[in-house]
């Protein structure tokens, strides 16, 4: 770890974006999806990225996740600069440092729930003997211990999203990234999922996680997040601290 990285880590920031940009070229046109965004997320903070469709919130989340690389600027996660990481190191970052929950769940339909949840453990080369316990623990946490042998298509949307959360948590990451986690769910199920995420943020045992959630529903953001950052045309247009 470099001196700069150590300082970042010691400052208590789980994520720090420093003038991050992401531009796409479409023919002769340059699309500025994210433009010079600087943002700090404190360890244990619940941040909501709010904005209309096309505002750049999902692009920013992908950059934080290490699924995409910025065109300019730097992103630090847990003290490490993602821009300097090799693709192998970025893969390890996605596997161990963060957990991702998608709007469309992204469970593999050919696998059972336990197999889906086991995938990050396989990728992390966790010993086989250790895996069943970890999978069981994660599924218990989201209340799906009775559905381990079911395939995703045999579950409701809410159950699938809970399974996706279990998969995101199984490697015990310090950061949870959620991209419109309730976007495909009805309001009641969405609320259940948000309560689950809130429980992960501030669990009874006190070992909470940093959460960055992309949403376009202000009500949800106001209800659960510590801070709301609103994006508009790739730049931060508003920042509100709620708690």
């Amino acid at each position: 770890m470099s001196v700069t990285e150590s300082v970042e880590s010691l400052n208590g920031f789980a994520i720090r974006a420093d003038r991050v940009s992401r531009h796409y070229k479409m023919g002769d046109t340059v699309i500025r999806a994210v433009e010079q965004i600087s943002l700090d997320v404190r360890t244990g903070e619940f941040l909501a990225l709010l904005g209309a469709s096309g505002s750049g919130k999902s692009t920013l989340l992908n950059l934080i996740a290490g699924l995409d690389r910025p065109s300019g600027g730097a992103i630090f996660a847990q003290g490490r600069d993602l821009a300097t990481m090799t693709s192998e190191e970025l893969a390890a970052h996605r596997n161990r440092t963060i957990g991702i929950v998608f709007q469309s769940f992204q469970l593999l339909p050919r696998m059972t729930l336990e197999e889906n949840v086991e995938l990050p453990l396989r990728l992390a080369e966790v010993p086989r003997g250790e895996r069943p316990g970890r999978v069981k623990e994660a599924l218990n946490r989201v209340g799906l211990s009775a559905r381990t042998r079911h395939r995703p298509t045999e579950l409701s949307g809410g159950e699938q999203q809970r399974a996706a959360i279990a998969r995101a948590l199984v490697n015990r990451p310090m950061i949870l990234l959620a991209d419109e986690p309730t976007g495909n769910l009805d309001s009641k199920t969405g609320e259940e999922i948000m309560n689950l995420i809130a429980g992960i943020h501030r669990p009874a045992d006190g070992l909470g996680r940093t959460i960055v959630m992309v949403t376009h529903e202000r009500v949800l953001a106001e209800r659960y997040a510590d801070r709301i950052v609103t994006l508009s045309d790739g730049v931060i247009s508003r920042e509100e601290r709620l708690r």
Binding site: A91, A92, R94, I100, Q106, R110, R122, R128, R167
Partner: protein, 465 residues
């Protein structure tokens, strides 16, 4: 990701698109089958010829003779085999001392005199002029008597004879099987060399056949007609039954070497030596040197030539034969591989299709922490598993096709009234090599799809519907 996990995931993915993957695997199997079927026939033919050559003793035998003048315009006579023989020793007599020296050379298993003579074989009412040869005890285990009916000589000095199948027919009533000669007696009549008795005994003798004339005195021995009975213990296959040449020196009858030596039959070398002055002790017409392995023959031949003898082997013939079959097998392999090349296109097609279908899945794997290497390896293992399963299936199918061709050949040859040699063989190296080759071709076919899958942008892949 660990290999075990990769294999599990690959097997699961392959099971999910069972029909398409089975058809691709079948394509590989057919490719491997054509390769195995062709090569098994090539190997079978090679072994068939190899057995015949080995039976003739060509692989490890060197015939040594006294060097006579300079036939073919070269010193020493015989084949030179391209070796530099400028420093040859002067020609030497092939006597007991020479035999001992030859036996002491490295890589020499045994040195036996070549006992060959013409005799009359009688079995009433039949009589045949026949070439008789002495056979060393080592011939029993050398494979030269493969297919023989009966047994080898009961001992090195037994009055027993092995009869070549064609000769056996001539000593039997028409239509009788050569093997029916087993256990019967044959009388051999031959010209025997007898040492002259001391002069005092010559004077006392009245026997007419012991009278010593001036010619005999000059030769140092007399020649008398002699005969001896032998029991037939073995009959080798006749030439129309897959038999033919037996041993390095082909003959109609074979006696134990020691017995043949004791018969003291007059040979050409005796008469030649008689015309020379100072000839004393045993002189051999030829000595057969058996090398420990065919690889040692060349060097031995050279050493023997350096000693002042003419050495002769057919190692060059066998070398050319091996070269021919190596090229023959190569061509068969190339033709067999064509089908495998077509099958490899099937693998590429299947895996590229799989990438399109599993685009989103690849995106999910990457989002969960799969490195490009993991995705590449996953597709590689899938290609390898298809190659391995296709290889096993192909070997089994190729084995069956080769066997079917062999059986069809047997039936055809039998209908033609001919014996059917084994022209088909699937050795272990072919089985393992074919499976390994199938896996290798499959992995090579997987390079492009695997690399394409690994390079997929996870963000794009996750958006794919």
């Amino acid at each position: 990701m660990k290999l075990g996990d990769l294999t599990e995931l690959a097997a699961r993915n392959l099971r999910e698109s069972m029909l398409r993957n089975s058809l691709t695997t079948l394509g590989i199997g057919i490719g491997v089958a054509s390769l195995v079927a062709l090569l098994s026939l090539g190997v079978g033919l090679q072994q068939l010829v190899g057995r015949s050559v080995a039976r003739a003793g060509l692989f490890d035998m060197i015939s040594v003779r006294a060097r006579q003048g300079t036939p073919f315009g070269q010193p020493g006579g015989g084949r030179r085999l391209g070796r530099d023989l400028d420093n040859l020793a002067p020609p030497r007599a092939l006597d007991d001392a020479a035999r001992k020296e030859l036996a002491a050379l490295p890589n020499v298993l045994e040195v036996n005199p070549e006992e060959r003579f013409t005799a009359e074989a009688r079995r009433e009412p039949y009589s045949q002029l026949v070439m008789v040869a002495g056979m060393a005890q080592s011939s029993q285990s050398s494979g030269t008597l493969d297919g023989m009916s009966g047994n080898f000589f009961s001992g090195p000095e037994a009055d027993e004879v092995i009869v070549q199948g064609d000769m056996a027919k001539r000593l039997l009533d028409e239509g009788k099987a050569p093997a029916s000669l087993l256990g019967q007696e044959i009388t051999l009549r031959f010209a025997q060399r007898q040492a002259l008795p001391p002069p005092s005994e010559q004077a006392a003798s009245d026997a007419p056949n012991q009278a010593v004339g001036p010619d005999e005195e000059a030769m140092g021995f007399s020649i008398v007609p002699s005969e001896k009975k032998f029991r037939v213990v073995g009959v080798t296959p006749a030439s129309d039954a897959g038999g033919g040449q037996v041993g390095f020196n082909n003959a109609g009858l074979y006696l134990p070497l020691a017995v043949a030596e004791k018969l003291q039959v007059v040979q050409g070398a005796d008469l030649r030596d008689a015309t020379r002055s100072g000839a004393a002790g045993t002189r051999y017409a030829a000595l057969n040197v058996r090398a420990s392995s065919p690889a040692a023959v060349s060097q031995l031949e050279s050493s023997i030539a350096q000693m002042g003898f003419a050495a002769f082997s057919l190692i060059d013939v066998t070398r050319n034969l091996r070269t021919f079959f190596a090229i023959f097998d190569l061509f068969l392999g190339i033709f067999g591989s064509l089908a495998l090349a077509v099958a490899s296109l099937g693998i590429i097609n299947t895996l590229v299709m799989a990438i399109l279908e599993r685009r989103r899945e690849i995106g999910v794997l990457k989002a969960l922490g799969a490195a490009n290497r993991d995705v590449r390896q996953l597709f590689f293992v899938e290609a390898g598993v298809m190659g391995f399963v296709g290889g096993i299936f192909g070997v089994a199918l190729g084995w069956a096709i080769g066997k079917a061709i062999h059986l069809a050949t047997v039936v055809y040859l039998k209908r033609q009234g001919m014996t059917s040699p084994n022209i088909w063989n699937v050795p272990w190296w072919l089985v393992l090599g074919a499976i390994g080759f199938a896996v290798l071709v499959s992995l090579a076919s997987g390079i492009y799809p695997a690399s394409r899958a690994a390079k997929l942008d996870p963000v794009e892949a996750l958006r794919y519907e």
